[in-house]
């Protein structure tokens, strides 16, 4: 099942990669300053907003965007749609990098980051009622699981090595890794379900500090929905850009068939959200909450526009519209998460927060590092599927048929 994947190869230090490295170094400098000088000296965070974009964007949105592996594994292994399997490995790489970067962001956001290793190793000190503990444990476990899920890819990469001991190691462990894969996949489906919904539970505990349009009993479900939306959207994003960047044929036909899942999740999310608000008697807040009404409708319109694009038959043929739909849904779901974690959150006592330049630089540095590592991995390891025949540009009948099978 991995026979068709192979490393992309090519030069690592292209001009674009160098630009990414410059951003990464800038972000790293901010990180170093934070580790030595403290959070207060580096960020605009305060006693009212003890978290900023490093959590709201880097972690909440970052792990959402890293849910590609989760969403795709759900479609491939639970719904048994094996044709999407060729997208699994790049999706898992995105997930691994996304979660690793979120972990890095959390590390820099923790006041006493040097104690973080105690979380997995000191179960006696766990607070069983803590949502945050669940998020921390699940994320740590999931990052490890995704790394192991990619075990075959790492080992295949090693087996191509010119050094015999590496090839030997790979030959010995590759069968075992493939045998363990079903269990890892099952874990890889369970863990994100737990911690993505826990991100919602986390903000549910904010109580009245969160605007009622966002604070609902359905928050955990909403975070699962948005994890799926962003996870799917990232598949389009990543597939389209790697195709363009490495001058490979685009997976337009395959992605076209995925569109109905994305649109389905988006519509389900919007419907559940509106019904939930109506049941909780908050429908009146949809208008007349000022900025918050505007943000709510912006999220909704972005997501519905994406769903409409995904469902349009023409979109199935056009990579540009697929990308537009993916970006719109990413923007809508990311806005939902940033709103929930920051904008609709008001700790009271007059506190306000806007990220300062170092925080933005650090976030850009993280994104740049992630992108650079992704390119590095796909160039060195068999992640991307081999060349598939270029899709015909005008075969609507066949495509329609394919989309419904």
């Amino acid at each position: 099942m991995t026979a068709s994947t192979r490393p992309v190869g090519g030069t690592i230090l292209t001009p674009a990669a160098k630009a990414l490295l410059v951003l990464a170094v800038l972000g790293g400098a901010v990180g170093l300053y934070r580790l030595t000088q403290g959070l207060g000296a580096t960020t605009a965070m305060n006693d009212g907003y003890p978290w900023g974009i490093w959590i709201a964007f880097d972690v909440a949105v970052g792990t959402g965007l890293a849910s590609g592996g989760y969403a795709l594994a759900f479609v491939v292994f639970i719904l048994n749609r094996g044709r999407y399997h060729r997208l699994v490995r790049p999706a898992l790489v995105t997930s691994l990098l996304g979660y690793a970067m979120a972990g890095v962001a959390v590390m820099f956001d923790l006041g006493r980051y040097w104690s973080v290793w105690r979380i997995p190793t000191h179960p006696g000190s766990w607070n069983g009622n803590s949502v945050l503990l669940e998020v921390a444990l699940c994320m740590m476990a999931y990052t490890a699981v995704v790394f192991l899920e990619l075990g075959p890819a790492w080992l295949e990469g090693l087996s191509a090595s010119r050094r015999p001991e590496r090839a030997q190691l790979a030959a010995r462990w590759l069968p075992r890794a493939e045998k363990a894969l079903p269990f890892l996949v099952a874990l890889g489906l369970l863990l994100p379900t737990m911690h993505q919904s826990s991100l919602g539970s986390l903000m549910m505990m904010a109580g009245h500090k969160l605007h009622p349009l966002w604070h609902t009993a359905l928050l955990p479900l909403h975070f699962l929905f948005t994890a799926f939306v962003m996870g799917f959207a990232v598949l389009y994003f990543e597939s389209t850009f790697t195709g363009a960047a490495f001058k490979r044929p685009l997976e337009t036909r395959l992605l076209a068939r995925l569109g109905k899942y994305v649109a389905g999740v988006i519509i389900a999310f919007v419907v559940v959200r509106f019904v939930g608000l109506a049941v909780e008697g908050k429908a009146g807040l949809l208008v007349g909450s000022g900025l918050f009404s505007f943000l709510f409708w912006t999220e909704t319109v972005l997501l519905l526009a994406a769903a409409a694009l995904f469902l349009r038959p023409q979109t199935h043929l056009r990579p540009d519209q697929q990308l537009q739909a993916a970006l719109l849904s990413m923007a809508g779901a990311a806005l939902y998460r940033v709103d929930t974690f920051l904008v609709a959150y008001n700790p009271g006592n007059g506190w306000s927060y806007f990220p300062n330049v170092p925080e933005i630089l650090f976030t850009l540095g993280l994104i740049a590092t992630e992108t650079f590592l992704y390119v590095l991995v796909v160039r060195k390891f068999p992640i991307l599927a081999g060349v598939t025949p270029a899709p015909g540009r005008a075969v609507p009948a066949g495509l329609k048929q394919g989309a419904t099978t």
Binding site: A44, N46, Y374
Partner: protein
Amino acid sequence: MPHTVVAEATALSRRDFVKVCTAAAAAVGLPAWAGEKMAEQVAKGKKPSVIWLHYQECTGCTESLLRANAPGVGELILDLISLDYHETLAAAAGYQFEATLESTMKENAGKYVLVVEGSIPLKDGGVYCYVGGEKAIDTLTRVAEKAAAVIAIGSCASWGGIPSASPNPTGAVGVSQALKGKPVVALPGCPANPYNLLGTVLQFATFGTLPALDDKGRPLFAYARVIHEDCPRRAHFDNGRFAQAFGDPGHRQGWCLYKLGCKGPQTHANCSLLNFCELPGAWPIGLGHPCIGCTEQGIAFNVPIHQNMPIDKPTAPMAYPGVNPPQGHQSLIAVGVAGLVVGAAAGAGYAASRKLAVPPGQGTKKED
């Protein structure tokens, strides 16, 4: 040998005189140009004649007036007004002194200012207070008849004060009750703040008018607000920091005295804004004792000193900071940078999708 020119030390130049008048105007809250005007009036020989009558009182109001410095009592009674009859300050005595009263009334009929200190007994025909063989109520009625203005200084003259406290054996009342139908400026206080008298007298001397009064005849400039509103310890009240007992840690740190029976919330006076005799903190609360409400009829000498009072005006004035002052800071540069990043991401996303509209072949940088 040092030579001292005695004559120059006592002679007052016009410049010095204007200075005295301006200082007096400033001390009592009149505009600066009022000093100049005051000096002009006096130069024209229009010093108002003042008759000061004492009845049932302790002379505390006079004592506190003697301790004012701007203007000092010497400047006041010699330069600014013509204090023609005052029993405590008079050099003369007996028939000679009483004759002054008659001559002053005759010479300044309808123009002099009458200041009354002390309450007037009315019980049993007013037999409880005689001065110069004449009953208090008789002298008062006679002198007030030809006065241009009647000022009652102190709580006794304003509403009866301590002589009127229960059971009020002499039937003591204030001037306004004794003189039915005659407008009286009341300056309650035990003693009254001398600057409230100076302000009233100097305004009359300069402009010939009396200050605006409330329904009890008290000048609004001094008695419009309750002590509580301008109390230097008000922040402690608003934050719930109360002295619970004399000498406790809260009391030592100058916390609010409300729970020790402070009458500030009910007492109309300007003690907190204008301390006595230019001595900072020279007023009861400033010295660590709750206000006893000495200016307020029905409170002073009627309500026990340490009994709690209801809060009369519970709302905080506008000047207090909000409950939630803005916290946290935002840099405009960061807002700009964030806007650029988001805009660039959106633009790049759109541009990339436009590029894909043509058959792929052109490399596109991965972005977010």
